[in-house]
Symmetry: C2
Subunit: 305 residues, 2 copies
Amino acid sequence: MTMFPRVVERIAELREMLDAERANGRRVGFVPTMGSLHAGHASLMHRARAENDVVLVSIFVNPLQFGPKEDFAAYPRDLDRDLEVCAGEGVDIVFHPDVDEMYPEPNRVTVAVGEIGSILEGRTRPGHFDGVATVVSKLFNIAGPCRAYFGQKDAQQLVVIERLALALDFPVEVVGCPTVREPDGLAMSSRNVYLEGADRRAAAALKAALDSGALLIADGERSGAKVREVMAARIDAEPRATLDYAVCVDPEDLVEAAEVDGPVLLAVAARVGKARLIDNMNVSPAPSRGARTGTSRSEASITKG
Amino acid sequence: MTMFPRVVERIAELREMLDAERANGRRVGFVPTMGSLHAGHASLMHRARAENDVVLVSIFVNPLQFGPKEDFAAYPRDLDRDLEVCAGEGVDIVFHPDVDEMYPEPNRVTVAVGEIGSILEGRTRPGHFDGVATVVSKLFNIAGPCRAYFGQKDAQQLVVIERLALALDFPVEVVGCPTVREPDGLAMSSRNVYLEGADRRAAAALKAALDSGALLIADGERSGAKVREVMAARIDAEPRATLDYAVCVDPEDLVEAAEVDGPVLLAVAARVGKARLIDNMNVSPAPSRGARTGTSRSEASITKG
């Protein structure tokens, strides 16, 4: 029989439970989510389960990280379904606070992540990453010392949270986990529920664009601009998709790579029907063997992204 | 024989020591300082010693909270003397990291405290309270669950840190402690070393101004503007002092009180010689007995500030 996780709504109660676990020498694995759980989240829980003694999942749709015109109210919520996903992965505790428990007063203290929060996703979503950093700081403080699992699918968020944990010395080990995909390559996302019919099929264009960029690099292309061009063209070729960005950037600071002379992150964002979708892929060019073999052709290894 | 505290320079080492203490059920009391310790700091340590099993003092002059024209380089530093003060109060551990240990990379993540950081001290010291909130966030994360002791002397800092701890859910109980004063009333401060001769004597004008404000309230005055006026006049009467501000504010949000109809915080700032000095006092008007006794005269109780 599947054991359902214990649902905790109060910060003080959660803290007490986790402190008691740690006092017994047990390690805590933490998967922060906004609910609407899918196979991507399940893979984070699976890994947390394998690496820790106690697995905590938080389900909280954080108003702070939504812009005034974004889908905070409409964001899909289904606690019963979410609990089933958690139960399936052997999660021990689900932290499910309401907005008043998390923000009893109007929020006046913000964790600001600087420049990295205003590029890429931050351009169309001003304040989003400060909102993420603020709620993650709160959740880290509430959860206490732990390993925390985040999906590589939200690559910029992962970089921001890794920086946050280091910069503010949180006693948290941030673990990035591979993107989980549908059979046609579409990255798992809670926002995929917004996709219907032809839009759902068109959404595969994002992964296809990343693949074409990776292939180009494998074929020896070293110009970041060329890689971007090819990815953008692939998304533009899909009439139901509207390109937001297609970039080839440094995986550490997300700055545009003029040349692909080391690992890069390919990242795309596009609107398809009612959904704004993002996807990304880590790509490393094979070291050029031109000097030794006289050929300049090299291969790319594609890290599962 | 006095036991000298153990000096720890590394974050990882400190964390390990304190986690071990907590695992043994011992409570940690934490006094964050910038060194240059005086009787005010000693009183914080004394209280931390009385209320906890392990007493930690941090000594770190935080570059982030100094403006470009402020006294970061000149800020008084004397570790040996500081360790003697700590030893005298039975401190167990002194955390004394260098700047590279605290900021191994250029600081890019900031804790922003909003409006309250740009009034009073924040007006002449833009960015100061964000710098304080950022380093205190780091220190809280490094120290872990604890009681943390701060002086009421820096009243605005205390309010900011109380808000910070609540807003970001740090597992830290913030304890405010009364200001310690020289015999003539001058509040203890590391910056008092900048005062020489006549300036040192003139510096007593700050406390005298607060006293005159408190007396006015005790005499029944209820106009915040009148109280401010009297305090400002007292400091202006001292030729060696240059008034920065004299205010009568709500003790919770530091907003100007038009009327003294409840507890207020009187706060002053002035430059005296080479030093910029601040001081403050909590004052509560006695409840008006006018309605019952026919007299409108009331008394003020002066909370030790």
